[in-house]
Symmetry: C2
Subunit: 302 residues, 2 copies
Amino acid sequence: MPSPTTHLLAIDWGTSSLRGAQLAPDGAVLQERAFERGILTIRPGEFPVVFESCFGDWMAPGTLCLIAGMAGSQQGWLEAPYCPCPAGFADIAARLVWVDHAGPGRIAIVPGLNTESDGIPDVMRGEETQVFGALAQLGLLDALFVLPGTHSKWVTVKGSRIVQFSSWMTGEFYALLRWHSILARTLPLGATPHDDAAFKQGVTRALRGEGLLHTAFGTRTLALFTRMEPPALASYLSGLVIGEELRGQQLRAGSHVIVIGAPALAARYQQALDLLGVTCRTLDENATWAGLRAIADTLAPV
Amino acid sequence: MPSPTTHLLAIDWGTSSLRGAQLAPDGAVLQERAFERGILTIRPGEFPVVFESCFGDWMAPGTLCLIAGMAGSQQGWLEAPYCPCPAGFADIAARLVWVDHAGPGRIAIVPGLNTESDGIPDVMRGEETQVFGALAQLGLLDALFVLPGTHSKWVTVKGSRIVQFSSWMTGEFYALLRWHSILARTLPLGATPHDDAAFKQGVTRALRGEGLLHTAFGTRTLALFTRMEPPALASYLSGLVIGEELRGQQLRAGSHVIVIGAPALAARYQQALDLLGVTCRTLDENATWAGLRAIADTLAPV
């Protein structure tokens, strides 16, 4: 008989998506499912029903389910109060919030982290689990991470603890500019393939430091004067926003960053970091599973 | 009998609004009209009909009508090719584009300007007329102007010529963030009164230089941790975007800026410039009328 914690159901319940995996004791992914049921699609009180419909058949007596992400926010299933930074793996593992669950097995939500810089708070939910998962996978004590996305996170780890982090609305700015600003009238109506040269041109432009309020307008004027072909403009704009995010980090040439994200997006960050002379390695979002597996391993079997 | 050019109909036909004024020979505004018929609301070929319905009764034999703004763009009534910078008043006055007009009087469109910086073009249409109008009103040869708005323009004048300018998507970024981003879920549903303290806090925050991708997220977290009351958040965000625009100008304390814009918006820029130790004077958008009056005065009567 495997110990009860071998039945781990790992869930990443974010703002716009819901993913789950059955994990073996060694962390191997046995099965995965994904649903377009991010917390924004779920009405208050509806979380247990949605959980049951998506993962109920994976729950059994002895099953442990751990949930990371926005499901622990005020608008989520059950609020898991933020852990203040600096925070280590043991801090979040010790502050799981247990869901009062009618069916078989146990369900807990992993808390997010909060920090503060110059009097302004910052928060994350889900990325802390990816970071601790990555640290475990890579055997690292100190590292600088970026987790690109709608709201990218830059995370500094020292001595295995997250000592500071910051949020960057890069993905959201890109989407607003690409689809809802005046630039949408200039850019092609649908998606276009990634254009390396235009992307790098955008990054380089952003790194000069004039700021996105100005550089974004250039996407329009480059088209107006036919200096760039319309299919390349979206990649140029992507380079502008990602370059702007990198500019804000004040990275030194020769430093090293770990990028955790979907492969296509991580590859863009790698291209942009190259231009700064910053080395990186990339991990996919399954770092979440590694983080949840590690938390499960700290719990006593029931 | 007054000379024919005394019958001046001055029109500012922009992206989102259409304004017209009857001007006396001394530039005094005799009558004004405004319509929500910016060029975005007008289908190709419909410009003559819209013009006739809005201003037809003001046109008579001998009337001169001068139009500044986006009506001269590719999507406008008739394209008036850009004048390259540096450009003086005489350059735009000499490059009017005459509309083939069936009714009484004459109609011409004032060209916009284009420039280039580090290989990226920039353009404006309408602001050049305001700047030349302001120079005439104030008797200045050299000045730095800001014309705040959806796409703010910063314009450098030396020896009565516009030598350089740049566009900043400040108003559009504010609207996107305020009404269409995740911040819209945190901010009050409707408009809120301007909050001086929150606005200045936003400007100060922006001037630190971390960049709007990061600082904008703080609007959300300040609310999340109840560090700022919801009615103040929109002013804080306004301070962030205007502060970001000012940061990009690298203004020295003690320098002087002329702000041309609607009084409420110009007052915000004045507040923000104060924080940088930059002095300013403000002019309202009727600088357009002064500019068009001055152009009319260069034309021979018919």
